[in-house]
């Protein structure tokens, strides 16, 4: 292991429910086990399962004298490889820094928007196998152990056992440790592409005297963005899902259970009581597939439409 000569900063980007916060905390705990000082913290927007979230970790030899978010990370961790499509995740990453990405792609195939040393791992497949759920944080931690030489895989596994064992019991500790070890083995390192432009969010940032008075907003067009009532249609949350419901109209018995169970109202009842799925807004929660009594709905990996 290398001895740190300056502070090491890691920024995690994931989606609510993938465990980015736990990953950051576990990395900090592992760093402390390796004799470092460390801190980890989340930044939540309006919290929802599937919404983009950030988490941060700092590691240093001595006491950390900074409490703010991380704008120029040494390491960027993506728990979801679609995030660069919608968020400027690569912004500020040091050119000599590293990226760790959950994707089925090889490092050389993946376009992050900045070409850096990159470790990729199919953490979703590992998590689905080991944990039976797409919670990829422990797999990504295993890959992170491969991607840098500051925090060891043994300390990461020890930290996973401490953290997950304490919270979820010894069985969860074991499964998550296995996921980390497998990701450590299967991770591939190379250099990613930096061809695509980093997406810029069309954000409305008025001066204080330009904001409508009274925490109150009518439907307003600002630049390319609509704000206020009736603006939610712009949030096409369908990109958040990791698996998609496939509907077999021949098996469907028109019982309507999926229709009234969908928490997002994305299942549309048709004239003859068969269903249509609005994949722009389906978050892939899988409730419809669970509740269907005749297995007419099947969850398929990936953001798919039919």
């Amino acid at each position: 292991m290398r001895v740190l000569d300056s502070m090491y900063e890691v920024r995690f980007h994931g989606r609510g429910g993938q465990g980015a916060v736990m990953a950051a905390q576990t990395l900090a705990e592992a760093a402390v086990l390796d004799g470092y000082h460390a801190q980890a913290f989340p930044y939540f927007g309006a919290e929802r399962r599937g919404a983009p979230v950030k988490a941060f970790a700092r590691i240093d030899k001595g006491r950390i004298t900074l409490k703010s978010q991380i704008y120029h990370p040494d390491m960027l961790v993506l728990l979801d490889d679609t995030l660069p499509d919608i968020e400027p995740v690569a912004e500020g990453l040091k050119p000599e820094g590293a990226a760790v990405i959950n994707t089925i792609m090889a490092p050389e195939e993946y376009d992050l928007g900045i070409s850096v040393i990159t470790t990729t791992v199919d953490a979703t497949t590992i998590a689905l196998e080991k944990l039976k759920a797409p919670i990829v944080n422990t797999s990504i931690l295993g890959a992170m152990a491969r991607a840098q030489d500051i925090v060891s895989i043994d300390s990461i596994v020890k930290a996973i056992q401490d953290k997950f064992g304490e919270k979820l019991g010894p069985r969860a500790a074991k499964m998550n440790s296995e996921a980390a070890r497998e990701a450590y083995q299967s991770a591939r390192t190379g250099r990613c592409k930096g061809d695509r432009p980093i997406v810029q969010k069309d954000q409305w940032l008025p001066d204080w005297d330009q904001i409508p008075i009274g925490v109150s907003l009518p439907t307003t067009q600002v630049g390319g963005v609509v704000v206020g009532p009736g603006s939610a249609w712009q949030n096409q949350v369908g990109t958040w899902r990791t698996s998609s419901p496939h509907y077999d109209i021949d098996k469907c018995i028109r019982c309507l259970r999926c229709w009234w169970s969908c928490p997002e109202g994305t299942i549309k009842r048709q004239e003859d009581d068969h269903m249509k799925f609005d994949y722009r807004y389906c978050k892939g929660c899988g409730i419809c597939a669970q509740i269907c009594p005749v297995d007419a709905i099947e969850m398929i990996r990936g953001v798919k439409t039919w």
């Binding site: 927007g45 008025p206 204080w208 904001i211 008075i213 009274g214 925490v215 109150s216 009518p218 009532p229």
Partner: protein, 391 residues
């Protein structure tokens, strides 16, 4: 105009009636209850057309007030002490949403060591809630400030709620001569409420959504500037009121015998009345005593106070509540504002928990301030009527 001999609570009810308030959510608490009782009677007798909505708690009362005001109607409520404390969470909504609710808080001590009697420790902690906050001295001022209050609060440069504080029992249950204006006069002075942001299904708008860090700080600054701008409106409205009704109160604060004063007391609430009498006594003995009748704690009249005290040598500040191991809140703010002046400032705490503030105590207060003219006050804080030696 009709002359009546009524309590401050009833005077407030008259102000509300003359102000053509449309919705009054309420919950009883002594010593505020007389306001709600009188308003209920007005409505029951068909003399006053308003919706009285009994809430199941003060928290609900303020929530109802927010809804009513956002619905575009003139809204009033009143409370005291524990009731104000229970509203605390909801108090922070109307300033930032810019809803011009008028509320009377009848000052009463907030427990433990609780009672139903007068102390300012209920309203003083709410100075940072974003409400304009004014303290009145007598029953006439209580009535007049309800009417002035709506015109100040609903001015488009302000659009913020106002809390009118009056001393429990010493005013709320004391009858005095009150001139009740004619409805037509009040109608001329107080235009119909024109809401700034209104809940209207035909013109939907978001009101009070979750505000992320990208915007909340700018919204705080907006409110900070609006509070500052309200100083101008308060002065204008007081002058307009004086022209219309022949009674003005000096706006942010009033002064008495300050032109050539060497030492003075800054007081608020009913203590001002007794202090005025003591100033007269001292003046008759040739002593250059003066008085500042503090009215608005928010907006805090920092610049105006600096100007009013620039020739003084010693100033005492009266506090009817205490910051533990600190100073009274009025003292803390006044001393902060007057830092640029070479002025001996002392804090004078009396009348806590309903303890009567006597004429002798008020004379003592002025005596201590006069002593501090030497430039050396014995201490920063003096308690009056305290049994046992102050250490």
């Amino acid at each position: 105009m009709v002359t009546k001999v009524i309590s401050a609570d009833h005077a407030v009810a008259w102000g509300v009636r003359l102000g053509r308030v449309e919705v009054i959510p309420g919950f009883p608490i002594t010593p505020q209850t007389l306001i709600m009782e009188q308003l209920s009677e007005f409505i029951n007798d068909g003399e006053f057309d308003a919706d009285f909505i009994p809430g199941e708690s003060e928290h609900s009362v303020m929530s109802i007030a927010v809804g009513a005001s956002a619905g575009g109607v003139r809204t009033f409520t009143a409370t005291s002490s524990q009731g104000l404390a229970l509203m605390h969470e909801m108090l922070y909504a109307p300033p930032q949403i810019r809803l011009p609710i008028v509320m009377v808080n009848v000052n009463r001590s907030l427990g433990a060591a609780s009672g139903i009697w007068l102390e300012h420790n209920d309203s003083m902690p709410e100075r940072e809630s974003g409400w304009l906050q004014v303290y009145v001295e007598d029953n006439q001022e209580a009535l007049d400030m309800v009417i002035q209050g709506f015109r100040i609060a609903e001015d488009e440069r302000v659009m913020m709620p106002i809390m009118i504080c009056l001393d429990g029992f010493v005013l709320s249950h004391t009858v005095e001569k009150v001139e009740v204006p004619e409805q037509a006069e009040v109608d001329r002075f107080l235009p119909k409420f024109k809401p700034m942001n209104m809940l209207d299904p035909a013109d939907p708008r978001l009101i009070n959504p979750l505000v992320p860090p990208e915007y909340a700080m700018e919204m705080r600054y907006q409110l900070d500037r609006a509070m500052d701008d309200s100083r101008i409106v308060i002065k204008e409205v007081d002058e307009a009121y004086a022209r219309a009704f022949g009674r003005g109160y000096g706006g942010l604060f009033d002064t008495y015998q300050m032109e050539d004063a060497e030492f003075a007391l800054l007081s608020l609430g009913t203590a001002t009345t007794t202090a005025r009498g003591v100033v007269d006594e001292l003046r008759s003995k040739g002593k250059k005593a003066g008085l500042i009748k503090m009215r608005f704690m928010r907006p805090f009249p920092e610049k105006e106070l600096l100007e009013a005290t620039k020739d003084l040598k010693a100033l005492g500040v009266f506090d009817r509540s205490v910051g533990f191991n600190s100073f009274g809140p009025v003292f803390t703010e006044v001393r902060g504002a007057l830092r640029p002046l070479r002025l001996q400032i002392t804090d004078h705490i009396a009348g806590l928990g309903g303890r009567d503030l006597t004429l002798e105590e008020m004379r003592d207060i002025f005596a201590r301030i006069e002593e501090s003219l030497s430039g050396r006050a014995e201490r920063d804080v003096y308690w009056y009527g305290l049994r046992g030696r102050q250490r």
